[in-house]
Amino acid sequence: MRHPGDYRDEMDRLDPRTVDAALEGRETGEPALDRAAKLVADVRHVLLAPPGPETLARHVAAMTAAARSADRGYRPVRRAGRPRRRGLRGVALAAALVVGAGVAGAVTLPDQASDPAEEAVAGEHGGAETGLEPAGEPAEQSAHGQEVADVAHDDSLQACEKGQAVSDVADSKADGHRNDDPSKDDPCAKGQGGSGGGGEEASAEGKTTAQEAKARDHGPPETPGSQVEVEGSQGRGGSDQAPGPTG
């Protein structure tokens, strides 16, 4: 049996032009080479079948579309699709994370933890949606102070009358909370009709009035027991609303 390497040695001795001739389908005078060249020609014949009309039309259409997209500066369809899909996936994932985290926080945060957040939000955006005092309150207080200041700087009033007027304006906000008659004790009237001993009496009455007023404004005197009771009730309320499992 002939060793396969014999053919290799035989072919290695061939002139390159002979090999080129064989590949071009020309006779070379070497029987083995000519037979090999004949088979290569058959392969060429088999493989050089032109694409069918449908394939041709489809491929040329793809080429035309590629030429148009190249004119517009588009990137190849395959390569353009992937980053865009990745970008959309990224945006969707980020949105899902934000929404998920928000929902989880709203469900699991205790009331105590949410109160400071509500206060912070109320400070920024008003309390209309959080149930807190409206943001107009400070402005109203400022107008009230300006009103009191205006009366205090009014030069048309003097002495006791001026003081009374300032007091009236200053107390005007608390009118709805008072049950006593504001005209019952008129210090100006007492001063006008008073005598020498009337001063001490008026002073004593004034002290009493001041103590009553103080008691009205601050309520009953606090006791340690009541304070403990209040704190205890707050503590129980807090422990009942312990934070649930997160996530």
């Binding site: 072919m11 090999v19 392969v43 060429r44 694409p51 793809a62 190249a70």
Partner: protein
């Protein structure tokens, strides 16, 4: 071969002219399709389409005559085939053996069924012999006989020296001759 009209066709193709693009396709598609088929591409027609779409997208960068253009197109085809082979390797799929493509390829209408069958067997056998070569030997033979490229052009496409390409084509022919001798073909 387009010949003297090539510069005008190339200019028309660069402007996206359908006729110019079709002229390029008609001239080169059979050889490109045969080349990727002969190498054993899984989807030769799709691969051919990708090659020509790549050609259109790269027309703005191409500089040269028709011979250089032909070489450039086959370089794209070779790279596309290697891409497909890498993809198949990742999926652990085997490429199609060229011998299995003989049936659908031999579309020549022959009146006699016996002759047609013989022709198909002959085609299948020819492709089977081709499949027995190494990948480099096959690529060199196909680029030389299908694309009509010179040894230097083939060397440029395959990234080899011209001397290596000459050795590969000699050994390819020697292998074919040996197979024919062993099978008693005279």
């Amino acid at each position: 071969v387009i010949g003297a009209a090539f510069p005008a066709v190339l200019a028309g193709a660069r402007e996206g002219g359908a006729r110019a693009l079709e002229a390029i396709y008609r001239d080169l598609a059979p050889a490109v399709l045969g080349y990727v088929r002969g190498l054993g591409a899984r989807e030769p027609e799709d691969l051919t389409s990708e090659v020509f779409v790549g050609v259109v997208r790269g027309l703005g960068r191409f500089v040269g005559d028709e011979r250089a253009f032909r070489s450039w197109v086959f370089a794209i085809a070779h790279r596309r085939f290697l891409d497909e082979r890498r993809t198949l390797a990742r999926r652990r799929e085997k490429p199609v053996e060229p011998a299995l493509l003989a049936g659908p390829l031999s579309g020549t209408a022959v009146g006699d069924v016996e002759e047609e069958a013989a022709a198909r067997i002959g085609d299948a056998w020819a492709l089977q012999v081709l499949a027995s070569l190494t990948h480099d030997q096959r690529a060199v033979l196909l680029l030389r006989v299908l694309a009509d490229l010179s040894v230097e052009d083939v060397a440029g496409i395959l990234g080899k020296r011209p001397g290596a390409v000459k050795a590969l084509q000699r050994r390819a022919l020697a292998s074919v001759a040996r197979i024919l001798q062993e099978q008693g073909v005279s």
